[in-house]
């Protein structure tokens, strides 16, 4: 309740001033930030829902295939390279731990499970975010600032269906495929370090992989890949699509800021959602 006593005068809201009293300012800022986040979450959810529904409309097949090529096929090389070294370094680290306990026989299990359950989906998603996600934001952002998206609307072409739906569909197809590639190549990389360089028994390594990996592990990894695909494609497309609404930069600067925001937000959300998914899947 507002008071008029002199000692509380500074806390009394001025009827002509909409800014909160000084002591309440942190709460007001927190509340404002919270509302901003909620607002953005709502907007991004609607953006995703409309774009996802658009996947099932006519004439999406060829555009989706094209995007699978850009997002998926063109990312294969970088995914293979990263997967090989990740598999090798996991095997190297595990070997030095396991050898102290005389358990190098479980190296295959350790490498394959860490790759299939965690490293494969997460690192694949981060790699695709860096390579294709940033490109999605930049491309759509440039189309926005050069009025190409406005042009679509004037031609009665739904820009979400034309630009975003094929990218989300392609990401949902590409992420699990590339994750599978990552897992396989990582396991081969682990074999190279463990068996060929460190002298672990090849049969023990292979048997460890086959016996320890269950269908649930593979399914769990692929579920994560699909969730990451949705997150990355939606965030990257959303940032590009609304690049003109940024308060902190317009034009080319706005596109560059949107691209940075998209990559950072995607990577953070990949790691956060990975933890949440792991708690449910384990």
């Amino acid at each position: 309740m507002a008071t008029t006593s002199p000692e509380h005068a500074d806390l009394t809201p001025d009827k002509n001033d909409s800014s909160p009293p000084l002591l309440l300012l942190p709460f007001a800022l927190l509340g404002e930030k919270f509302l901003h986040v909620i607002n953005n979450l709502g907007a991004i959810s609607i953006f995703f829902a409309k774009s996802f529904a658009g996947i099932f409309t006519r004439d999406q097949f060829s555009a989706t295939v094209q995007q699978v090529y850009y997002i998926g096929a063109k990312s294969v090389n970088i995914v293979i390279l990263v997967a090989l070294f990740v598999g090798m370094v996991i095997a190297l680290q595990m070997y030095h731990v396991l050898v102290d306990y005389g358990s190098v026989g479980v190296l295959g299990s350790a490498v394959s499970l860490s790759l299939i359950r965690e490293m494969g989906p997460v690192l694949t998603a981060i790699m695709i975010t860096a390579r294709a996600g940033s490109a999605m934001t930049a491309e759509i952002g440039i189309q926005r600032i050069s009025e190409q998206i406005d042009a679509l609307e004037t031609m009665r072409i739904n820009p979400l269906l034309y630009l975003v739906s094929p990218r989300i569909a392609a990401a949902i197809i590409s992420f699990p495929l590339l994750t599978t590639f990552f897992d396989l190549v990582g396991i081969i990389g682990g074999y190279f370090t463990g068996v060929i360089l460190m002298g672990v028994n090849g049969g023990a390594y292979t048997n460890g992989v086959i016996s320890s990996v269950k269908m649930d592990d593979i399914t769990g990894g692929l579920i994560k890949a699909v969730v990451f695909a949705v997150l990355v494609a939606t965030i990257c497309c959303y940032q590009g699509f609304f690049t003109h609404m940024r308060a902190d930069g317009r034009g080319a600067k706005g596109v560059s800021l949107s691209t940075t925001s998209a990559v950072v937000a995607s990577c953070v959300l990949i790691l956060v959602s990975d933890y949440i998914l792991s708690t449910f899947l384990l």
Partner: protein
């Protein structure tokens, strides 16, 4: 009177605390070319985006054929928007699509036409827009004028009833500017659509406009014929129109209308009221046909050449101006009509050699038809008097037009 197509009643729009439009009322008529002029940043593009539906008003009603857009159901709104096309200031072509794909996009995405039919329609439009050499090129490989034609082809591919142009001539040289405006005027006549245009190109844009709308201080302060705009007593006319119009026509170097009127008034006040003087009106026979044959740029090169020659030849004898897209008027204050015959013959022979023939390379290289074209320059004479309005004298001179120079143009190699 043509039918009212689009009406704005009390339209207001703000972005944050900044008000752009304040209770704007305006009318757009069917089949006309309406040009919106106003200073930069006054909300002309915002106004256009309200028509196309990219922006919604905070207040007021926009009606199409008497029906408010906010009362239309989804189907009616879609039907309304299908009648509109928009040409953006920077063309907004898709840089990852070829010229053919850019033009085909609206058909592919909004109709169920077969691939064959789409290709047929697109190729036909490509031919009409003189883009036959570039269907497989990307927008970045084209000149500014060609990109503009691709944007126009894309806008016209769905046979719209209303085409909106947002500053279509920005950043172009005088010949290109006039070529683009000429192209808009030609296609407007050819396809019969209603044109709404934003432009700063005065007085060139007046030549193709049926109505002018002036946006000033968040409101429309004038709607009507551009000749009446000159008489409007408003700071905008002094600040903006007169400064933009200048004293010289950018394309030809001749006096602008304003410059001509000043000189003309000075000349007739120096003469005895009853004394007559010679007025010559030069025109190009069937300019539209020549434009279709030779292309818009070549046609504007020709207008530039004719205007420059008139300027050079008559500048020490009288005053000249360009008073429509393809007509020039020369007033000879100290010459009687009976004395102008030899002068006109001399001008015609010089122009034929230095003007028409010098232009051949341009017209030949851009000529589209194998049959050739006979280009004729006409001149009409009339005796003017200080008491008669100059427009009336010009009308009499036009009626008396005779061919003073002609040349047959054919494609190179024929």
């Amino acid at each position: 009177m043509p039918e009212k197509f689009i009406e704005f009643r009390g339209i207001s729009k703000s972005f944050g605390s900044r008000q752009i439009l304040n209770k704007v009322d305006l009318d757009i008529y069917e089949g006309q070319t309406t040009t919106i002029i106003g200073k930069s940043g006054t909300g002309k593009s915002v106004l256009l985006k309200h028509i196309i539906g990219l922006l919604s008003p905070d207040e007021g009603t926009i009606s199409f054929k008497g029906k408010p857009l906010n009362e239309m159901n989804k189907k009616e709104l879609s039907d309304y928007r299908s009648r509109l096309s928009f040409c953006f200031q920077n063309n907004a072509l898709f840089d990852s699509l070829t010229v053919f794909e850019n033009i085909a996009l609206p058909l592919r995405k909004t109709t169920r036409l077969s691939k064959k039919k789409v290709a047929e329609l697109v190729h036909s439009r490509i031919d009409q827009m003189e883009l036959s050499d570039v269907p497989d090129k990307y927008p970045a490989d084209l000149s500014g004028g060609m990109q503009k034609r691709v944007a126009l082809a894309r806008a016209l591919i769905t046979d719209p009833q209303i085409v909106l142009f947002d500053e279509p001539t920005t950043g172009q040289d005088p010949i290109r500017k006039n070529a683009i405006l000429s192209m808009i005027a030609q296609y407007q006549k050819k396809f019969g659509f209603t044109t709404i245009l934003i432009s700063h190109e005065l007085p060139d844009v007046f030549f193709i406009s049926d109505r002018i709308l002036v946006l000033y201080d968040k409101n429309i302060i004038f709607q009507g014929d551009y000749r009446n705009l000159q008489d409007l007593k408003h700071p905008f006319v002094d600040e903006f129109i007169k400064s933009l119009e200048g004293v010289q026509d950018e394309l030809t170097g001749l006096h602008s209308r304003k410059g001509f009127e000043n000189q003309y008034n000075k000349a007739i006040t120096r003469k005895e009221a009853e004394n007559g003087f010679a007025v010559i009106v030069f025109s190009v026979e069937n300019m539209a046909g020549f434009t279709e044959y030779a292309g818009h740029t070549a046609a504007q090169h020709f207008i530039h050449s004719l205007g420059s020659h008139i300027n050079m030849y008559f500048s020490d004898k009288g005053i000249s101006n360009r008073f429509s897209r393809d007509q020039f008027m020369t007033m000879l204050p100290t010459t009687r009509v009976s004395q102008t015959g030899p002068m006109l013959e001399d001008f015609a022979s010089r122009f034929k050699i230095n003007g028409l023939e010098a232009e051949l390379d341009i017209t030949r290289t851009q000529a589209q038809s194998a049959t050739g074209y006979t280009l004729r320059v006409m001149a009409g004479l009339a005796e003017g008097t200080p008491s008669e309005e100059i427009e009336k004298t010009a009308e009499r001179a036009l009626k008396d037009g005779q061919v003073i120079a002609e040349i047959f143009i054919e494609k190179r190699g024929q």
